[in-house]
């Protein structure tokens, strides 16, 4: 198995029990028509990428449930035999959030969306490491979950935070002398599909600048 040393250029995390407030949408997305269409995942991703200072390049996005809020709207409409909003349908795909990022920042580079269940952030990091290795460029790796749907308590046993996200910008480091494996415990209550990125953010905050990721 091949390990890659990656420099952490920037990082950020955010989560809230119900809804993350003040994602600075008006500043980040001045165009009202686009802003009104954004999903919650897209808003969180745009906020995190803004905090990381990343606007252009390869993006790897991870999410277990992704646009479940839009899927719920669609299945409810089908159950009630009412019409489906085309915006809801176009927003229901798992790559909606990074696609809005691409659209708003005019980023024409590659986007990969990982959805490996509770290992989504882990596998997003592995994919980001691959992308950094083959391109030699900086890569944005981000994971988000937005589970704030009506009656979520009927199924939620895995998180205290219905909205969460974490992002890192990574770059290949040819000097692996100071690189270490991910060793952080993460933040209690954050859903596992985001947790591996939260751990990397915590390590960066502790002053660790290079990590090993196994491809």
């Amino acid at each position: 198995m091949r390990k890659v040393a990656l420099k952490i250029i920037s990082s950020h995390k955010i989560y809230a029990p119900i809804k993350i407030e003040d994602l600075q949408e008006k500043r980040i997305v001045p165009n009202m028509m686009i802003r009104r269409r954004l999903t919650r995942n897209a808003k969180i991703m745009l906020y995190l990428s803004d905090k990381c200072g990343f606007k252009d390049g390869k993006v790897v996005y991870g999410s277990c449930y992704s646009e479940i809020q839009e899927s719920v709207k669609i299945t409810n409409a089908i159950l009630e035999k009412s019409s489906i909003s085309p915006t809801s349908f176009q927003n229901s795909v798992y790559n909606s959030a990074p696609s809005y990022f691409s659209l708003i920042n005019k980023d024409k580079d590659e986007i990969i969306t990982i959805s490996s269940g509770l290992y989504s952030a882990r596998d997003a990091l592995k994919t980001a490491a691959l992308q950094a290795l083959v391109s030699g460029q900086r890569v944005l790796c981000v994971a988000t979950e937005c589970l704030n749907i009506q009656n979520i308590q009927e199924v939620n046993t895995c998180t205290k935070f219905l909205e969460s996200g974490a992002a890192v910008v990574l770059e290949l480091d040819n000097d692996s002398t100071n690189a270490i494996d991910i060793d952080d415990e993460g933040d209690e209550g954050v859903i596992n599909s985001v947790q591996d990125l939260v751990k990397v953010v915590n390590m960066h905050q502790r002053g660790i600048s290079t990590i090993f990721i196994e491809l």
Binding site: C64, S96, K108, E110, I112, T127
Partner: protein, 363 residues
Amino acid sequence: MNSYINSYEVACSAGDIKALMNSIYEKKTAVSINTSFIEDTPLGLGQMKYDDFYDLLAEVVQKVLDNSKLENFHNTLLILGSSVGGMQESEKIFFRDKNYKNLDPRRHSIHVLSDHLVDKFSFLDSRSLSTACTSSANALLLAKRLIDVEAYENILVVGADALCYTTVCGFHYLSVLSDKPCTPFDKERGGMNVAEAIAALLIQNTKDKDSVELKGVGASSDAYHMTNPDPEAKGAIASMKAALDDASLNIDEIDYVNAHGTATVANDKVESLAIETLFNDVYVSSTKAVTGHTLGAAGAIEAVISCEVIKKGLIPPQTGLIELDNKSINVPLNSVAMDVRNVISNSFAFGGNNTSIVIGVCS
């Protein structure tokens, strides 16, 4: 390190790979007219016959293993691409109960399909991805890169999507579905057909006598619109160019374009423009006229079709075509027998996500 496609299989509305290729060359669509998804609304859909989608998934993967030189998948990475994952089962429970109480959150998302295969075959590791209709094309992209950098020796790429109400009704409300089998690139095209399929390809760093090479992969983003492609086709051109560069091939070395060709006005117009701009008279056709649009499985199933085209030396004709809309592209009405060296297969998706794959005879 080179990547070789050494074993593959499909299950789709036309049947297995042998039946599918017969249908493609006989110009016989496997799309049927369905009225059960939306009351009083006939829709052309590519439906398979199965009792359990998960059993069929395992059956397809078992066939790939049986046709390979591997004894098991214990040293194989699984990369699965799907656009809906476990949605079909979630819908069934939700429409029956009208609440979430009996829904298992672990069986809703994309990974439920890869988890099922990991349980069954004990893969070395797995990951699943979902970029809508480019999902399994992007799984192939990652597989090639992982073999390039010598991270894995064996990778099984699976594309799998089952029909569900969300996709059928969603596309219906986007007004892009045809009530007949679709007719890509035809002047009178009436829209697309949603379909279901499973396709699996074993990619290895070693060459067999029947190997086909996965030579190049490329991807891009339109950064234009969430559902409509860039009318100047810059994204589609960029992904094809990137795949050609990765394969170190020039345009004259491509003999056939297996088009995304959904038969929507927006896709066909832009893809035709991209092909017309980039190539000189290359053969183009869309096999979605036979299979329907298998969404997240499309990249994988069309990669398998591309392998067969190379092995048979026979360019597929365009099923359903009566009058070509864009006469600047070369869409054959009949099969063309020739030495097919290299094929490029396109997949485009919501969000302006474009992926192109180059497959060819082994170098």
